[in-house]
């Protein structure tokens, strides 16, 4: 059989239709397509793809099982190293990880590893009726702070080894950024709930409404008998640009906008938590969070949505598929543009005018690219005198976050870097004995899979430290 040079297309909802609903955009492969795509794998001896995966999934092995139609076997292989396959298959930037290392990709398109992974996980979730079995206890207790990707991974890996794990979540619902941040149309919440359920079947306790650093401190967790603590408390406070007008009504951080829509379900027809809908929306930033915010705004009924990004398409850090989806849905990219001021309504004759203080527009300046900066990305430089104003009603700032200070402020001896990120060594261990950390709390805003990789590393280190005891 001749090798197909292209990946099998991922079926998606029609852009015109999906721009008005919150249902999942990508519909997933059927069995035949999954088998056909897996069959494109050359089964290279040196397995370059595995080295591109932050959790080192045994990719050629699971693809081989899919090729032979053994989907449950494939699932077992994936879950040996990944706790959240249905999530990763959807949100990983495969093009810069496993798939960019694929040998097939040198001449053709790489194997659609993420798409097949997603198929396998969905197949298992749809067909498996057997609850996961909790292994025999090894008598050790570990506390995990935060139920996002790093915390769930760390908890899952430890639970499989017989540890008694308790996950503490500050919000009322488990899942962290998978629940409050990533929208339903990209990652259905039922999938996250299912992954959390599986962890519970493995014997993990999930305690919501507990803010570590406030309700309980890290020191108290040790007093309660936990022998190790993993901190996966996530990103934290949103950054703003410090330009005039950011306190106007209608200016959101992406965290707030997405939390309102995702966690608090403001997208429903008659929501209990309000959100500004409709009108013209500008999203500032070029990452996955910016794409999520822009596409959410569109689905909430915006007549026009702009992405305002200060560099060019080449530097845009978002996952390729999300950028393509956003473009198909009609989102306009104002590249090489940077906001300098947000403008608001002000009726000088009537201080009680209800429109006062709401956003009316955003002044932007055009940019050009200069010399590369320390990270090797070309530095954007404003073009003098190129300012102009776009009419908008809502501005969403998606320009990153700074780590949450609550745990740092209440844990003696926990060292953080200049930006507030917790400092860890190559084993994920912090400056405090028995305290490990990973994910955005360490790195600042990054990807789901890198957080999972950090959770996995910490679980391994915790196991090594405790299993000898």
């Amino acid at each position: 059989m001749a090798l197909d040079p292209k990946k099998h297309e991922m079926p998606t909802q029609d852009p015109q239709v999906r721009a008005h609903n919150f249902n999942e955009v990508a519909l997933g492969y059927d069995e035949a397509t999954a088998v056909a795509e897996a069959s494109r794998c050359l089964n290279c001896k040196n397995q370059p793809c595995v080295s591109g995966c932050p959790v080192n999934i045994h990719i050629p092995e699971f693809l081989k099982q899919v090729k032979e139609g053994n989907f449950e076997e494939a699932y077992k292989i994936i879950t040996q190293t990944s706790s959240l396959p249905a999530v990763c298959g959807r949100v990983c930037p495969q093009e810069s990880q496993c798939e960019c290392k694929c040998t097939l990709g040198i001449k053709f398109e790489p194997v659609g590893i993420g798409r097949v992974e997603r198929f396998v996980a969905d197949y298992h979730n749809a067909h498996s009726t057997e609850p996961a079995k909790a292994p025999a206890s090894n008598g050790h207790k570990v506390a995990v702070v935060g139920s996002g990707p790093s915390g769930l991974t760390c908890a899952g890996d430890l639970a499989k080894k017989g540890y008694k794990v308790t996950v503490y979540e500050a919000l009322h619902k488990a899942g962290g950024v998978l629940v409050y941040g990533i929208p339903e149309f990209r990652l259905p919440k039922s999938i996250v709930a299912k992954e959390v359920e599986t962890l519970k079947e493995l014997g993990v306790d999930v305690e919501t409404n507990i803010v570590i650093g406030k309700t309980l401190t890290v020191d108290e967790l040790f007093e309660m008998g936990y022998e190790a603590v993993f901190i996966g408390s996530g990103a934290g406070l949103p950054n703003f640009m410090n330009i005039p007008g950011e306190a106007l009504k209608g200016v959101y951080s992406a965290n707030e906008f997405l939390t309102r829509s995702n966690l608090m379900k403001s997208y429903l027809d008659d929501p209990v938590t309000p959100i500004m809908k409709g009108g013209k929306v500008a999203v500032v930033g070029g990452g996955n969070v910016a794409m999520d915010a822009a596409r959410t705004a569109l689905r909430l009924g915006a007549e026009k949505v702009y992405i305002v990004y200060r560099r060019s398409m080449t530097e845009l850090p978002a996952r390729k598929e999300e950028v393509e989806h956003a473009q198909e849905e009609g989102i306009e990219f104002l590249l090489l543009h940077n906001p300098v001021e947000i403008l608001g309504y002000n009726n000088p004759d009537n201080p009680r005018d209800e429109r006062n203080g709401f956003v009316t527009g955003m002044k932007c300046i055009k940019m050009e690219l200069g010399e590369p900066d320390e990270k090797g990305r070309r530095r954007p430089i404003p073009i003098e005198g190129s300012e102009f104003t776009i009419d908008v009603d809502t501005v969403i700032m998606a320009i990153g976050t700074s780590p949450n200070p609550l745990i740092k402020n209440t844990t003696d001896g926990l060292e953080v870097n200049k930006r507030g990120g917790i400092i860890v060594n190559e084993d994920g261990l912090t400056s405090r004995s028995g305290v490990y950390a990973g994910g955005d709390a360490v790195t600042g805003a990054a990807t789901v899979i890198s957080a999972m990789g950090a959770g996995k590393l910490a679980a391994k280190s915790i196991d090594e430290a405790l299993s000898g005891k």
Partner: protein, 283 residues
């Protein structure tokens, strides 16, 4: 789920509840707040802690029935449960080392000012309290304030009880007559706190204000509760949930905070009407 152990109505629109939440009760300090959801589909609202009993494991909240969520909360009876209750959040009010303090509460804000007055009184601080209400019918916590204050002034806007006028009038009088305080701590409507700051400014008395912006998570994630402060001539963004809720009153941009609190006014009015109608139907 968190059980309502005791419930009493302080006046026709203000209710006090004691909620069983032992971990929160153990840590709660004056000035801190909690976030609650009444039911599984409910919104998250912040309420400042009005007291706690660590031995019993209960946390006291006092709330004004003003919107859809507080209407639903108010319908819950003793023994019933609320869905979520998280805290204690925010930084406690700094009271250490203060010898003479004026505590100024306005309306339901007195519920939050009261535990601050109590804590000050218990550490031996000389406490002057000024508590203001629109009229006599909505007066709350007078006995509590009397027992924790060396001097208590009650004001009503319409003169139906105590001093006729708002809280800034007796404050100004005292300051003009040479009364001195280490600090003024004020909690109430934004407009009242703004005017307390203005009244204190000529006398250089430090003023701490307790801010109550719109919040969602309350744990330092969403950034909705941001305020603008002016520090050393520079405008800086602070977050009430982790940097506050207490701030130096002279630094806060009150006009901006008042504007931001009105962001969802139309939505809130609609939801309130909806909740009222549902309640009427139920009756």
């Amino acid at each position: 789920m968190y059980q309502i152990i005791r419930r009493r109505e302080l006046n026709s629109s203000v209710t006090e509840m004691e909620i069983l939440a032992p971990l929160v009760a153990k840590k709660a300090k004056p000035g801190q707040f909690i976030i609650l959801r009444v039911n599984d589909e409910g919104e998250r609202i912040p309420l400042t802690i009005a007291g706690a009993d660590p031995a019993e494991g209960t946390v006291k909240i006092i709330f004004q029935v003003v919107g859809a969520t507080t209407i639903q909360l108010n319908q819950k009876q003793e023994g019933e449960f609320i869905q979520d209750f998280t805290g204690p959040l925010g930084k406690p009010t700094e009271i250490e080392g203060k010898k003479k303090v004026c505590v100024i509460g306005g309306g339901v804000g007195c519920a939050i000012a009261m535990p601050v007055a109590k804590a000050l009184h218990e550490q031996g601080t000389e406490v002057t309290s000024i508590i203001g209400f629109r009229n006599k019918d909505i007066l709350i916590l007078e006995d509590e304030f009397r027992s924790f204050s060396d001097k208590l002034i009650v004001t009503t806007d319409d003169g139906s009880y105590g001093f006729h006028g708002n809280v800034t009038v007796p404050l100004k009088e005292m300051l003009e007559n040479g009364e001195t305080f280490d600090e003024i701590i004020t909690i109430g409507p934004l407009i009242m706190m703004k005017f307390v700051v203005a009244a204190a400014r000529p006398f250089n008395v430090p003023v701490t204000v307790s801010m109550n912006p719109i919040m969602i998570d309350g744990t330092g994630m969403c950034g909705g509760c941001r305020l603008t402060l002016t520090k050393d001539g520079k405008r800086v963004t602070k977050f009430a949930c982790v940097d506050g809720p207490d701030f130096n009153g002279y630094e806060v941009d009150f006009d901006e905070a008042m504007s931001r609190n009105r962001m969802y006014m139309t939505f809130e009015a609609h939801k309130r009407d909806e909740a009222c109608n549902l309640m009427k139907e139920a009756q």
